[in-house]
Amino acid sequence: MELHILLLFMIFAAIVAIEVKDLLSSVVGVGAVGFALCLAFLVLKAPDLAITQLVVEILCLIILIRATIKKDLPLVIAGRWVFNTIATVGFIAVFLFFAYVALKELPSFGNPTMRVVKMYLQEGLGKTGATNLVTSVILDFRAYDTLGEATVLFASVIGIMAVLRGKGRKKIEEREDDR
């Protein structure tokens, strides 16, 4: 029952975050959605995710606030966007209808078919020695994913430093042709 309340709160906070005028209060709205998500993870018995989501959420907020301090806001709302709204709302309606139809065939909420995962639960402790089975899945059964994961973060750091560096192109005269 509390999941329903949390989800309704998240949807309400998301709508506020998107529709509100001031940038800083929309950043706070996203923060609210993130923290409600962290609570939802706790209710769904996922402590690992709650810690990571909480901490990543704080970092995201700091960077977002860094980007939105003292920045201007569009005052005039042009009406040219009517076609865009109809297309988006129509696409969302179709998407939700087919999603509703498809969701009925999935196993119902609360009893997942845990075919492959049974082996993780029974022999996880024996095979990997880690008591926290989520960590054993991350770092032993599917460690290759985590290697990709670390590379994603590495690519993002190098990409940010490449984008934020001062001068992108050298002027013609200072370009020396080696070999």
Binding site: A130, D140, L153
Partner: protein
């Protein structure tokens, strides 16, 4: 921690930060080391470690941390962390397969127990922590450059 009053936040924030930064860092290291026993792990612990440095930088102003770690040193440390993690993966080659957990598993429930999992946790936390610190330093340095222009 040399404290010139005009940079960073008010005195109250500075004194509280001086008390809590150590605890946050310790908590982050705890999360990393006990990754395979209790919830948390390389990622969460690494981000907490990065947040403790960012917390320091927000409270005491940019020079406090920026003088110690430059973005280039941070990105080099990060590549070292990444190479460590790849090394642990390559170590598995000796045991026959790419990511094989070849160290002995030890007794469950005590600290040195899950073979290479604690080592990978430490390598990931080193990488994630310093990488996010490098992102924050790059964003902050950009601010100063804009001011001089």
């Amino acid at each position: 921690m040399i404290d010139n009053p005009n940079t960073g936040m008010s005195l109250i924030v500075k004194t509280i930060t001086r008390l809590t930064v150590g605890l946050i860092l310790l908590f982050g290291i705890y999360i990393v080391l006990h990754g395979h026993l209790s919830p948390g792990g390389g990622f969460a612990g690494g981000v907490i470690i990065a947040l403790s440095f960012i917390h320091l930088m927000l409270a005491f102003g940019k020079e406090a941390v920026a003088s110690k770690i430059s973005t280039r040193l941070a990105s080099n440390l990060e590549s070292i962390g990444a190479l460590m993690f790849l090394g642990i993966a390559l170590m598995g080659f000796f045991g026959g397969s790419f990511f094989l957990n070849i160290l002995n598993k030890g007794l469950p429930f005590n600290l040195f127990s899950a073979g290479t999992i604690p080592l990978s946790n430490i390598a990931i936390s080193l990488k994630v922590g310093i990488g996010l610190l490098a992102i924050f330093l790059a964003l902050v340095i950009l601010e100063n450059v804009k001011k001089e222009k």
